[in-house]
């Protein structure tokens, strides 16, 4: 038993418990956030010590530590850190149970990290549930009408999708007699001979189950309502953390276990779903008037772009895998930045209507500029990470021969420019209803500054990040 490979997750678990206990004694709730950030930093430190090459296994190969694991762990920890920082002011709305809030964020993060670091179906399922159940609670944390609805809706649909997923996993197990991804791969020829239709059904169920987690069309219905109702930092967390974790699992499961030799034509399924996801996400986003709903649909569309890359990985393409990973990291950074800016602005305007952002460039030049850069990055305009990510992701898809899919993706990205720039337009061209400035607190400014610097640096000099991403892709598709 090599318990050390579980180090970062253990740290998060322990810190989560400490925070809950601390909550009982401290009066200044800011301390809880500070402990949370400290916990994230310690976990990151531990994560830095994990073995990468060659990969190490633990718990009968249920857990793997390779470059992929380590990179995704860093990403989730970074996301968690920024979410906690941006929650410091927002958490005052919760009055009680701030401790539980931070603890749940950490536990959910631990779940996401496990999702990226396992190669076995049952542990994937458990990790997924750890993530999701924490998020169900977090979504309902405001305890008002919309937030409760968000939590309940998320839980009911989430439970349904988990059942679907479990059913697919059970079928795979029945056909292959194993839950280890690499062993599934080696016995899949036999499985196909026994029951081809069962294998297809299993694949479809897996696609549906994971599709729910990444809000892929036609399993995206929950996303806008949940994103709108949940506390904004949690919306941010959902839209990047949970999505990245979902894709990490998809990359592992479909590339390792279902193989590349066309046993099941999963790439075609994903190609069609990618088109639907991009198009529906973008078109519906055009008419949104609430900024959180806008970003909800935008994140559905972004998931569509990632799916284009996932399709391209079907040729065992390391290029495509690194495209997906880089894009995901860039998207996470950018979307977090956008949400953090929104948290700060909405704090002042009192609601999330886009109309309220009118003239924000005059009232809060810094926040508006940061949000503008994030929106530009989401559109895929340089000098931002969104541009590099989109360029790289789509080029890998072209290399794999999916030119038509890339053209649809690019047209979609042109459509998306309209609604992203609309927010920009309102902020810069609209008249300010009042000259009163909008100030953000120090933790929020720190979080926003960090993500903005990341967006710009990775957009101008992405080389070092690419080296990491490439190593992760190598360990995924060896």
């Amino acid at each position: 038993m090599n318990l050390s490979l579980l180090g970062p997750e253990i740290v998060l678990g322990v810190i989560a418990v400490i925070i809950v206990l601390l909550d009982l004694v401290v009066q200044k709730k800011g301390i809880l956030a500070a402990v949370g950030v400290a916990g994230v930093l310690i976990a990151a430190l531990v994560n830095g010590w994990l073995p990468m090459e060659p990969a190490k296994y633990a718990f009968d190969k249920m857990l793997v530590s390779d470059s992929f694991t380590v990179l995704f762990n860093f990403a989730f920890l970074g996301i968690a850190g920024l979410v906690i920082l941006s929650s410091v002011d927002y958490a005052k709305k919760f009055r009680r149970s701030q401790g539980e809030y931070y603890a749940l964020v950490l536990l959910s993060t631990a779940g996401m990290m496990l999702m990226a670091s396992t190669r076995e179906l049952i542990s994937i399922y458990i990790a997924l549930e750890l993530t999701s159940i924490s998020l169900y609670v977090l979504a309902a944390f405001l305890r008002d009408g919309k937030s409760s609805e968000a939590g309940l809706k998320y839980m009911l649909l989430g439970a349904l999708s988990s059942a679907v997923l479990l059913y697919g996993m059970a079928l795979i197990f029945g056909l292959t007699g194993t839950t280890q991804l690499d062993q599934i791969a080696s016995s899949i020829t036999v499985a196909k001979a026994i029951g081809q239709s069962a294998l297809i059904l299993a694949t479809v169920l897996l696609v549906a189950g994971f599709g729910f987690k990444i809000a892929m069309v036609p399993f995206q219905m929950w996303a806008p309502d949940v994103y709108e109702g949940a506390p904004t930092p949690i919306t941010a967390f959902l839209s990047v953390g949970s999505k990245a974790a979902g894709f990490a699992v998809i990359l592992r499961v479909f590339n390792i276990s279902l193989g590349h030799e066309g046993f099941v034509d999963w790439q075609t399924i994903f190609a069609i779903l990618a088109v639907l996801t991009m198009t529906i996400g973008n078109v519906v986003a055009l008419v949104q008037s609430n900024v959180k709903r806008l970003l909800a649909y935008s994140s559905i569309a972004q998931a569509g772009y990632v799916l284009v890359g996932v399709v391209a990985t079907s040729n065992s393409s390391q290029f495509a895998a690194s495209g997906v990973i880089f894009f995901l990291l860039g998207y996470a950074l950018t979307n977090l930045g956008a949400f953090i800016a929104i948290i700060a602005i909405s704090e002042k305007t009192g609601n999330d209507e886009i109309a309220g952002y009118s003239g924000m460039a005059r009232r809060a030049p810094g926040l508006a500029l940061a949000l503008a850069f994030c929106l530009i990055s989401l559109t895929g305009i340089p000098p931002t990470v969104g541009f590099v990510g989109k360029f790289y992701l789509f080029s890998s898809a072209v290399e794999a021969g999916w030119v038509w899919l890339v053209i649809i993706g690019l047209i979609n990205s042109a459509i998306s420019a309209y609604y992203y720039v609309r927010v920009l337009k309102i902020m810069y061209l609209g008249a300010a209803p009042s000259e009163e400035g909008v100030k953000a607190s120090a933790p929020v400014v720190t979080a926003l500054g960090l993500s903005l610097v990341g967006v710009l640096i990775a957009g101008i000099y992405p080389g070092p990040l690419f080296q990491w991403v490439e190593a992760a892709a190598r360990s995924l598709i060896g």
Partner: protein, 490 residues
């Protein structure tokens, strides 16, 4: 000395300096800093003209700077700058207009800090397009220009400025989407697999060349703009502030023409030959349709905007002929159109500042009596635009027609008839606005002030210079054309 890096990024440095160091209400300081940075950029680009070697046609690009930038697996991007006879005139045009755009904006009082920063960022974006030789870098700069332009039209424009700004953005970004698909496909279809535009211009494309050509061409044709993708241009122009119109007509449209020659024709010569007849037809339609629509315009800026559609049609005409003289003419036409139309927009801006209208019926008449300098400059620019000999427009258009006539007589004749229409609308417009019976309501108007005179006289000097001694530009252009002709196999 890394001339091109300095030239390309100096305006950006200026923009950052303005944004960080100067106070919001220090309009004077902001203007001087902007003028200083853009002037130094212009002077540096003139240095390039003297250092440029025109006697070595085998030289692919000069002032080359290369460095590894992104290298992951088979995906290699370089920081690769260089200019040749095709891009150097465009660089000079950009730096010249960039400087004059600052001068012509001297009276801007609304949010000057943001205005001048964005104007300088815009200049860096356009310069980057003309100096990059790596396709990734090229596309990056191509996109960088979008947001500043959007904001410049949207905030400082007039009329339906938000609508026009959005229309500009959407048109361009749709074009970019097709272009990016073309770039990526080209990367994998070509041998060698590279973003190096020089190497691509020497290599070959294995498959799908025609489709790649179309994807790339759509992106450039929207920018040019080619009929029927031109409708964003009149809107953007009529609502943009003066200096932005100058930049838009003067250099942004040239990005389209430059892209067609540098990329579509040079990298995909066979596809270019395949599509040449179609392009020729579209070009002739553009020339004639643009000119016909110009005739009926009542708004001065819309009038010049439509005349741009017509004149950029000549660029496409010269390129589509795929002859040596046609190409030289096309490049020269881009340069001269940049100066002439830039000047026309400047003068219209000066008139608008004073009369607060751009409607020709309201402006009628006799403005020349109160503003003789403006009237004289406008007349020179108008005559240059209609192709009067000894002014720059004549040489360029003549070359285009000769180049086209070699291969397609009918197209040349039809295209040349556009000149007649041009003469019609220009002279009619001059007559209505400046001459004729004096309208007493204009008795309080004043003529151009010193800063404005510096700006417009500089342009007049360039127009006359290129008209009398076209060799100053042609010597540069001539070094680039043999390489392209060799690619076309003739």
């Amino acid at each position: 000395m890394p001339y091109l890096t300095i030239i390309t990024f100096l305006p950006l440095v200026g923009a950052i300096a303005i944004a960080l160091l100067l106070k919001r209400d220090d309009a004077r300081g902001i203007k001087w800093v902007a003028a200083g940075f853009s002037l130094v950029t212009f002077l540096l680009s003139l240095v390039l003209v003297f250092l440029f070697k025109t006697n070595d046609p085998m030289l692919q690009a000069q002032f080359v700077e290369r460095a590894n930038w992104i290298s992951v697996g088979q995906f290699k991007v370089e920081y690769f700058l260089g200019v040749d006879g095709l891009s150097l005139p465009m660089v000079i045009l950009t730096t010249l207009l960039g400087f004059l755009a600052v001068l012509i904006s001297w009276k801007i009082s609304l949010r000057p800090k943001e205005y001048f920063s964005l104007l300088l960022v815009l200049e860096t974006g356009v310069l980057g397009v003309f100096t990059s030789l790596d396709f990734f870098l090229f596309f990056l700069f191509w996109e960088v220009e979008l947001v500043p332009m959007f904001l410049l039209i949207g905030i400082w424009g007039s009329g339906r400025r938000e609508y026009s700004a959005m229309k500009f953005l959407i048109y361009t970004i749709v074009g970019s989407a097709f272009m990016l698909a073309g770039i990526l496909w080209l990367y994998f279809a070509s041998s060698p697999n590279t973003f190096d535009m020089i190497a691509l211009g020497q290599g070959s494309v294995k498959e799908g060349a025609n489709l790649i050509f179309l994807l790339l061409f759509i992106g450039f044709a929207i920018k040019l703009p080619m009929v029927p993708f031109h409708t964003w241009l009149p809107d953007a122009h009529s609502d943009a502030p003066t200096a932005v119109s100058v930049m838009l007509a003067g250099v942004l449209l040239k990005m389209g023409g430059y892209g067609i020659i540098r990329i579509c024709v040079t990298i995909l010569p066979d596809a270019a030959k395949y599509f040449a007849p179609a392009l020729l037809i579209l070009a002739v339609i553009g020339v004639l349709y643009g000119a016909a629509v110009t005739m009926v315009q009542k708004d001065l800026k819309r009038l010049i905007a439509y005349s741009s559609v017509s004149h950029m049609g000549y660029v496409l005409l010269g390129v589509a002929a795929l002859t040596k003289i046609g190409l030289v003419g096309a490049v020269l036409q881009m340069f001269t159109h940049g100066t002439i139309t830039g000047l026309l927009f400047m003068v219209v801006g000066l008139i608008y500042d004073r009369t607060h209208t751009r409607q020709i019926p309201e402006l009628t008449g006799g403005l020349a009596q109160r503003m003789p300098v403006i009237a004289a400059v406008f007349t020179v620019a108008g005559l240059a635009s209609l192709g009067l000999p000894a002014l720059s427009g004549f040489v360029a258009e003549l070359l285009v027609f000769i180049g086209v006539y070699e291969k397609y007589q009918l197209a040349a004749i039809l295209g040349a008839s556009g000149i007649v229409l041009t003469a019609g609308y220009i002279l009619w417009m001059l007559q209505r606005v400046f001459f004729g019976e004096f309208n007493p309501k204009w008795s309080d108007l004043t003529d151009a002030v010193t800063v404005e005179r510096v700006a417009v006289f500089t342009m007049v000097v360039v127009i006359v210079l290129v008209g009398v001694a076209p060799a100053v530009v042609l010597n540069m252009v001539n070094t680039a054309v043999p390489t392209i002709m060799a690619r076309l196999g003739s």
